[in-house]
Symmetry: C2
Subunit: 391 residues, 2 copies
């Protein structure tokens, strides 16, 4: 991970109730996300990764702000914001909802939690969805209240997450199904607890709505989990790319449509819903795409130079220095022993993949490397890659 020294702290970069704990436990770097501090690295990204894949971690993801939409027009507004059909979502469900404007371009890609028939939380990525929702509601005179409640999610992630959560809450937490949430008591306070989180290692997100009880919960997770080798952690760059979890702002931006970002695979674009983006997306689908997010698996050994990016355009370059598409994220995968990359692949390279999925790309060392172009999510087995064990 590229870390530069010196992040200047001010009130504008908001802390969470857990920031002090995170700093005391020796965090190495932060990023800024929704005007808040998000830890990115504790030991090294690779050591954090192996630990996450084997044990359990507690993540301060208070940066996942909730945009609360409440009132008679709540469902109407949420449906405007996303092309995914949300009409039949039950209370107690989480649903991944790419948000998009009239041109089909992304605004954000939150998890929506349906708290009641007229009450939603959008647990957002990094953009001020609150302002978009307020603008739409004011402009169209909708009957909803929109706010950012004092909620700071805490994630418990990793293969031992169930065991830890059962100790701190109770055994019934194991029964929460994927992308469902329910209130769970800790010291008499009920938190919404969801089976979700930004890794594929399993786990929960706890929607902490009381800072004091939240900090007590944080400490209880570490006390109870000592024998499970619990550690503080954070969304891990290696794990999330290996798991094909896309990051809004990195892999795709407001300049990219839902289709170009490959997010239409999560829903039926032809559902007859009142969504701002519906017409534009169906038209783009009929026209065909000029670019689409794809994966690259680059044959570069551990320690080799990463993929070169044109500093002016942000594009990956081919063997003739031709720009083939904007780089999203890249990381060296210890599990698959390759550089794993996302790229918004442009035409004609996108069509060429049908002929041959093998291309050459420039590395920062000035040499070329072979890359296999894959659809997302990555299917490493199908690509002929064998899984390595921790070194």
């Amino acid at each position: 991970m590229n870390v530069i020294p010196g992040l200047a702290i001010s009130n504008r970069l908001r802390s969470t109730p857990f920031t002090q704990r995170v700093q005391q436990s020796g965090v190495k770097a932060f990023t800024v996300y929704n005007h808040m501090l998000l830890p990115t690295e504790f030991d090294t990204v690779e050591l954090d990764y192996w630990h996450l894949c084997e044990h359990v971690q507690v993540w301060d993801v208070g940066v996942e702000r909730q945009v609360e939409i409440k009132g008679p027009d709540a469902c109407k507004l949420v449906q405007w914001m996303t092309p995914r059909d949300i009409r039949k979502v039950d209370v107690g469900r989480c649903v991944y909802v790419p948000l998009a404007d009239e041109s089909g371009c992304l605004i954000n890609d939150p998890i929506a939690l349906k708290l009641a028939e007229d009450h939603w939380w959008l647990s957002i990525a990094d953009s001020d969805v609150l302002l978009w929702a307020k603008g739409l509601s004011t402009g169209a005179k909708l009957d909803v209240k929109i706010s950012e409640p004092k909620v700071w999610p805490l994630a418990v992630q990793g293969p031992k997450a169930d065991e830890l959560m059962a100790l701190v809450f109770d055994e019934s937490v194991r029964d929460i199904r994927f992308f469902r949430f329910q209130p769970m008591a800790f010291k008499g306070h009920y938190f919404n607890v969801a089976r979700s989180g930004w890794s594929k290692q399993g786990g929960y997100e706890i929607y902490v709505d009381d800072a004091d009880v939240g900090v007590a919960l944080y400490d209880a997770l570490f006390d109870a989990g000592a024998y499970l080798n619990v550690r503080p952690g954070c969304p891990n760059l290696i794990e999330r790319i290996e798991s094909s979890l896309l990051s809004f702002g990195n892999d795709m931006t407001m300049e990219h449509t839902v289709l170009e970002s490959g997010l239409d695979s999560f829903f039926d674009l032809n559902a007859d819903v009142e969504s701002l983006a519906g017409d534009a997306l169906r038209a783009q689908k009929a026209r065909g795409l000029d670019r689409k997010i794809m994966g690259l698996v680059v044959s570069a050994p551990h320690g080799a130079a990463p993929v070169h990016v044109d500093p002016n355009t942000g594009f990956v370059l081919g063997d003739q220095f031709e720009p083939i598409g904007r780089l999203g994220s890249q990381v060296w995968s210890p599990k698959y022993q390759h550089q794993v990359v996302t790229v918004m692949l442009e035409e004609p390279y996108l069509s060429d993949v049908q002929l041959s999925p093998h291309i050459q790309v420039q590395l920062t060392s000035g040499t070329l490397a072979w890359a296999q172009v894959l659809e997302l999510p990555f299917d490493f087995q199908a690509a002929g890659l064998v899984e390595s064990k921790p070194g």
Copy 2:
């Protein structure tokens, strides 16, 4: 300034065309502002400050994103967004426009540039005004196009700014009046150049709309300005607080109204304009304020502990540990040899100031210090403070 090690860089934290130059010149720290990198310190904040007050600096303020609003309903939309009357603003003028919602709470506080009768740029502080504008426009079916153009402002600030700009552009740049802008040619490319900037040391902002020519301009400013002792710089914490330049997100937030933030002093609240915030603000004015942003001048010598802030509430505490108001910004002023602070002073302390402007506040050392409470903007002379010269 509070700087912590380790800012993790990713695509999501966008660079400007000048970031590479800024890094090469030894920047010490960045902050993140509008999802972009903003330098905050080069030498030390205090050395940067004295240099700014005596010479000339070039600032990469590409984070000042432009929200472009263009079309027949452009003026209507801008007027909705701000309680300031913008009907008589001439083309070529800059105007400071606090943006506020129906409750009178701030959304942002940009400089608006009127480019044509149907064409505005809002040069924004740190929040996604683009999304609010898009939401309002979509919701109310306005006839405008809203976008974020590829524009990265570059500021030239300091007492020698006129001389440097005259060398790089031409002598006519000296004739640009305060808060006016006009196209100025550099190498045949016309940039909008305004007499404005986030310091009180004088200077310009150049709205760079071409990355390549912009970098050539950046280099030309340093080449031409060598004999003027030009240096890279950035908005300076000391200078901006001494100059009472408030920072959205620091001194006031989305939880504070235009009145509480003292920003109604810039315009007539009773202008008969179609602004979303008008009614709420006039009602609050009639009711009276429960809190208001004020200045504190704290008697604490150089190197003394700063004002203590309750970690849970963000509040400054009085002599009995009573919370008196949320801290905005604080810095030690080398010019006035006091700690200079902004605070959102709450009742009853706000009214008490009429009786006596002297209060005691807790320092992080656990001791108390006397503070003089002042209206903003700071009038240091009236407060009996004498100006020191550079040490």
